[in-house]
Point group: C2
Amino acid sequence: MSKINIIGRGNVATHLEKAFRGKAMVNAVTPRTLETLDVEADFTLICVSDSAIKEVAEKLPELKGIVAHTSGTTPINVFSGLENISGSYGVFYPMQTFSKDSPLDYSRIPFFIEGTDEATERSLCELAGIISNNVETANSDKRKALHVAAVFSCNFVNHLFALAEGYMSEHSLSFSTMLPLIEETVGKLHNLSPREAQTGPAVRKDRMIIDSHLNALNNYPEMKEIYKTITDSIINTYGNERN
Amino acid sequence: MSKINIIGRGNVATHLEKAFRGKAMVNAVTPRTLETLDVEADFTLICVSDSAIKEVAEKLPELKGIVAHTSGTTPINVFSGLENISGSYGVFYPMQTFSKDSPLDYSRIPFFIEGTDEATERSLCELAGIISNNVETANSDKRKALHVAAVFSCNFVNHLFALAEGYMSEHSLSFSTMLPLIEETVGKLHNLSPREAQTGPAVRKDRMIIDSHLNALNNYPEMKEIYKTITDSIINTYGNERN
């Protein structure tokens, strides 16, 4: 069984600990208790916010195994030039939205791996393969593009749900009413590309509805701003192709 | 079996025809062939774009049954004062995203019904009940609020997917890679409210990542604008509660 140090107290650390339970020997460490690190461990995963990765890395003792961070956006070279990280290092990025109170099917999480050399990459891929069936390598540029796309497809999408939820609750409507529509919106992606699947007043350039909705949002200036920005983008994207 | 005229050539008309197949006698009519309407039909559903509803309604012959439109935003009173619609009328709004090439489980579609009187409402609810298990009444104000929320939760969400797809394809990445993350984003809604489920750099106020992503979007001005607008809205929404 592999021995892994997992450094962090956030959602990624919590979920990786759970995912490896019974499949590897996990030593959970916080950035403040680095003295409890197992220096003989095969892997040390730094699961902290991007702005803290370098700081944590600088404080690491000399470790026998591979050091990796779990960030989508921070490049692999955050570790380069650190004298204490003399061995091989890499990136172990799980592209997923981790909430503490939501259970997850870890086997479906896509992992994107990068390493200083082929052997390191292979080792990190094997580690990810213990929990997931969906493991690929990706260099830092590709991984950052994935992270940007994930922010649009997940974080921003969820914020639109949150805005809809607030607006509905002010109109005595339950957000759960929206779930069949949301599930169909996502279900369609198995048959159609999002471009083909686009519906609604903006892609039809239905100015009457758009103006009526903007009017309904007069007391919701942030939603109105987002309504305008995304509607303009839809109109620009499709031009006259649906007329 | 009920007899229904369905007026329209778009996605809503097409899907309602399919949904009622074998469950009602459907007479499909286009706005240009109104002379083929069955004046004895129990229902006439006007499934045309919002800006065309009134025009079509004005051209209808005297009909024996109930006339209804299928729009989320157009109020019921679009029919008021029309001399040819002397009987009862209403609204038959299926809150769903209809794409011609995507099959649908009609039984889950939420229908929102409004009628000039209780008997009309009951008849329209019964009609919706033939195909769906999810039928409610809603007045025009409530229905419009639902439609606005649906635009955010479905049309705008799908556009974020389309932008992500385009960006990924320019970075030699397949959009299908994003599906497990998207499915988890939606799956979480069964356990958490969208507000509780929010993750990502904006809710963490991770300026380093946000700036790095904005920089990555320099050649994508529309995506950059949307990135800024939604990130600002997330930061405003959560303030310091996740710090």
